[in-house]
Symmetry: C2
Subunit: 466 residues, 2 copies
C-alpha cells in the first residue's frame, strides 16, 4: 500500500459531486479548497455542468489530463463504487469518501466492497462518513467545516463528524494552530495508526490530538503510539470511557468502544496522554504545542492571590506534582521586590498589591533561573492593575529572559481578564481563565516528559539486549 | 449578639478612611457605594477634609447625627481600635474591617483585641483583611472590587481576597446574578455559619457559593449547612484539599486548612456540594440558580452529534446518573421529525442534518413529557445551522412548553457558539461550551436533590422520635 504522503501533499485534487448549489456539501468543500488557498490543481467533477466557481468541470475523474492524487467523493452512497472504479483507473492514489450510509447504518457489505475495490487500484480510502481533511502547510482545506483554520503544529484526528466540525471552530476561537485535521469516520482503511505514522515523520506537526471512540487493532495502535510519543506528545479523548458511554458510542458509529480498562492500559503503554473532556484536551494542547519540553519537574508558582495559589497547589498535587521550596538565589532576588510580609515559599505570593512591574521582574527571574524547570503564573484581577497590562509584563519577561522554558498563565476576572487571555494565546503563551486549568495543563507537560523518558529507557534496554 | 439583618439592610453606612485620592481603597469603596445606587445614608469619615465626592465628611463616626448601622473601616491596622471605640459608642452595629495586618501576618493579639473591643459595644465584626461586601437587594456595593455586579439570587462568601475580587468580575462576565458577596477574610467574628443562617432566611438568596480555606467550628458549620441545604443548595470550593494545598493555605492566611478527609465527610453530612475548581463551582451555580428543582433523575439527552452524546453519557455515568430509554410516546413523536436512521435511544440523536426546527420540536416534547425530569441539549456547530438560531429555537421551546423543568445546554464551536452561549445565559438558561460541562452541571442538580431528600428524611426521623 502506498504511504499517506500524497494524501497530504497532492499534486491535484478532484471533487466529485462539486455543485453550484451553495447548500450542497460538494459545493462547500470545493469553495473551502479554493478560498483557503490550495495551490495544486483543483478539478470539479460533475457531468451536468461545464464549470463550478469559474473552474472547468469534468464529467469524470478519468477525463482529467493533469495529475490527480486525491479524489474527494461527495455523492450518494450508491454512486461511490463507480467513482472509485473511475478514479482508480485514472491512477488516483487516495479516495476521501465524504458520503455516509455505510457501516454506520449497517451497510457493512457496501463498505467492505468500497475497500476491496479501492485496493484493486492500490488506492487508500479515508472515510467513509467524514467531513474531509485539512493540511495547512499546503493551504489545503478539503472539508465542509469552517474555512479559516489557523496554521500551526497540531494535528487533530477525529472519529466524530459533527463534534469534529464544531471543534474545528473551537480551534479558531481558542487560537490553536493546526497542521492537519483529519476526519476518519468509519475508518474503513486509513486509521489512527496510519496517521500517527505519517505525523511522526511530518516536520510540520509537533502534537497530535485524537478524538477516538474505538480502534480495531489495539496492538498496532500501541506500537505506533509508543514510537511517536518518544518525539511528539499524543493526546487522546477516548469517548465511551464508561459502560454507558460505550453503549452510546455503539449505537452511534456501530463500532464497539470496547473495554474501558483495556484502553486505559493501552494508552499508558503507548505513552499517550488521556483527556477526559474536550476542554481538558484543548488545554493540554496549548501547553504541549507552545512550550518547549521541560527539563525537570521543579515548578515555581507566582501569584498575587493566596487563594489562587492554593487552588493551583491542590491541582498540581492531584496531578502528582509536588511543589518544593524555590531556589535560594531566586528567593533573595524576589525579596527585594515584594513587601516583607509576602510569603516566598512555593507558591511565591507577590501579594494583592503587586503592580505589573513585580510580575515582570519575578517572572523574568524565574524563567532565567536554571534551578527552575517550569513557571506557573497566576493573576487575580484586582482594582490595582489591568489584566492586559500584567499579560504584557509577563510576555515581555518571557521574551527578554533569553531562555525558553514551559510556562502557563491564569488570568482570573471579568471581561478584561478574558481579553488578556486572548492576547496571550495570540502570541502562543498558554493562558487560562482559572488557576486549576493553568496548573493542570502545565502538569500534562510534566506527565508527558515522564512518559517519554520511560519509553526511551525501554527502547534503550531493548536495543541493548538485541 | 445581634443578628446580621442590619449588616445587609443598614439605615446608614459610614466609611472611615474615605479619601479624595482615587487610588485609595477608602475612595474606591465610597465611590462604589454611591455609584451602585445605595439609597440609605452615606457618611464619609475623614477629619482632614470637609467633603468627599460632594458628600459632607465627618471627623468621627460619633459626630454623625443620623442612624449609622455599619461602619466600613479602611484605615491602617494601628488605627482600627480607635475607630471601633468611636463607632461602638455611637451605637453602630457592624464593623466591616477592610484593614489588613492582623492574624494573617501573625498579629493575633491585635485581632483578638479588635473582637473584644467590638463585643464590649455589642458590635459584630466582618473581617479584618477583606475587600468588603455587596447586597444587591439594597443596591449596596461596599467593596473595592468591580462595581456593576448583576443582581440575582446567588450569595457568594469568600475567604480569599484577591481571588474573591477576581471572581466578582467573573460573575459579571458569566452573567451570574448575585444577591450578596461577602469577603470574610480572617473571620475574627462573623463566619460562614453566621452567614448561612442569614441566607437561609433571606428571600433574595436561593443558592450559596462558598470559597473556603478552613472553618474553626466544623460541627456548627455542618449543623447550619444541613439546615439550609434542605431549602437552598450550598456549593463549596474547599481550597487546600490536598496536603500541599493545605500547606499553601496555612502560609497564606495563617489558618490551618485541616484534615482533608474531615472536610469531605463534613460536607457530605451537611448536604454541601463540593466543587474542585472555580470553573466547576460557577458551572454548578448556573444550573442551581436558574433551574427549578428536578422531580427525579430521568434525564434525556438531545444532540445533533453522536460524539457529543457519548461524551455527555460518560460524564453523567461518572456522576452516577444512568441514562434510561426515553418514554415511548416521546420517541414516537420524535420519530416523526428525524430521518429513519437516527438513533432514538438515550442520547436522542437528531443527526448532523438537524435544523433549528427539529431542536425546537424535540426540546419542547421533552420538556412537556411528564416522564422526563431533566433535559440535556447538545449542539455541535456544523455548516448547516447557526448556533444563535439553535439557541433561540431551544429557548422558544422551553418558554412555550409551559412547564418549568431543569435543562442544560452545550453549544460547541467557534465564535458564533460563544455568542449563542452568551445569549442563553443572558436569559438564564444554563449554557456551556462543552458537552462534559453541561452534563456535569446538570448532574450537580440531581446530586443536590439526593442530598436534600436524605436530609429531609433524616430530620423527619428525628422529629418522629422526639
Amino acid at each position: 500500500m502506498n504511504s499517506l504522503k500524497d494524501l497530504f501533499h497532492p499534486r491535484g485534487i478532484a471533487v466529485v459531486g462539486a455543485s453550484k448549489d451553495p447548500t450542497k456539501i460538494g459545493h462547500i468543500i470545493l469553495k473551502n479548497i479554493v478560498e483557503y488557498g490550495y495551490k495544486g490543481g483543483i478539478y470539479p467533477v460533475n457531468p451536468t455542468v461545464s464549470e463550478v466557481m469559474g473552474l472547468k468541470s469534468y464529467p469524470a475523474v478519468s477525463t482529467i489530463s493533469d495529475k490527480v492524487d486525491v479524489v474527494v467523493v461527495s455523492v450518494p452512497n450508491v454512486k461511490v463504487l463507480d467513482v472509485i472504479d473511475d478514479a482508480g483507473k485514472a491512477g488516483v492514489k487516495h479516495a476521501v469518501v465524504i458520503a455516509s450510509g455505510f457501516k454506520e447504518v449497517g451497510n457493512i457489505e457496501l463498505e467492505n466492497e468500497l475497500v476491496r475495490r479501492a485496493r484493486r487500484y492500490g488506492m487508500r480510502v479515508l472515510g467513509p462518513n467524514i467531513f474531509g481533511y485539512v493540511y495547512t502547510p499546503e493551504r489545503l482545506n478539503a472539508t465542509f467545516g469552517p474555512r479559516d483554520v489557523i496554521p500551526g503544529n497540531v494535528a487533530f484526528i477525529t472519529q466524530s463528524g459533527a463534534l469534529g466540525i464544531a471543534l474545528m471552530g473551537s480551534t479558531i476561537l481558542e487560537g490553536i494552530g493546526i497542521s492537519a485535521i483529519v476526519s476518519v469516520g468509519n475508518k474503513s482503511d486509513i486509521d489512527d495508526a496510519d496517521l500517527l505514522e505519517f505525523f511522526d515523520e511530518d516536520p510540520n506537526t509537533s502534537v497530535v490530538l485524537i478524538y477516538m471512540e474505538g480502534v480495531s487493532d489495539g496492538k498496532r495502535f500501541v506500537n505506533v503510539a509508543s514510537k511517536i510519543s518518544m518525539r511528539k506528545p499524543v493526546v487522546v479523548i477516548k469517548s465511551g470511557r464508561t459502560e454507558a458511554g460505550a453503549r452510546a458510542a455503539a449505537s452511534h458509529t456501530g463500532s464497539l468502544a470496547g473495554n474501558v480498562l483495556l484502553y486505559e492500559t493501552a494508552f499508558k503503554q503507548g505513552g499517550v496522554l488521556s483527556a477526559k473532556s474536550v476542554e481538558e484536551a484543548f488545554d493540554f494542547v496549548k501547553t504541549l504545542s507552545w512550550n518547549p519540553l521541560p527539563h525537570g519537574e521543579r515548578v515555581v508558582v507566582i501569584t498575587n492571590g493566596g487563594g489562587a495559589g492554593v487552588q493551583a497547589s491542590d491541582t498540581l498535587a492531584d496531578d502528582g506534582i509536588h511543589l518544593e521550596k524555590p531556589p535560594q538565589d531566586f528567593v533573595e532576588e524576589v525579596k527585594k521586590i515584594v513587601p516583607p510580609f509576602a510569603s516566598l515559599a512555593n507558591p511565591v505570593d507577590l501579594t494583592g498589591m503587586a503592580p505589573e512591574d513585580w510580575y515582570y521582574r519575578s517572572v523574568k527571574l524565574a524563567v532565567q533561573n536554571p534551578e527552575i524547570d517550569a513557571v506557573l503564573i497566576l493573576y487575580c484581577h484586582t482594582a490595582l492593575t489591568s489584566p492586559v497590562g500584567v499579560a504584557k509584563a509577563v510576555s515581555k519577561a518571557i521574551e527578554e529572559a533569553g531562555v525558553s522554558k514551559p510556562v502557563s498563565v491564569a488570568i482570573i476576572g471579568g471581561m478584561e481578564a478574558y481579553e488578556a487571555i486572548r492576547y496571550l494565546t495570540s502570541i502562543r503563551i498558554p493562558a487560562y481563565p482559572t488557576p486549576e486549568r493553568a496548573a493542570h495543563a502545565l502538569a500534562a507537560q510534566l506527565k508527558y516528559r515522564r512518559y517519554r523518558e520511560y519509553l526511551m529507557k525501554k527502547e534503550h534496554l531493548i536495543n541493548k539486549s538485541s
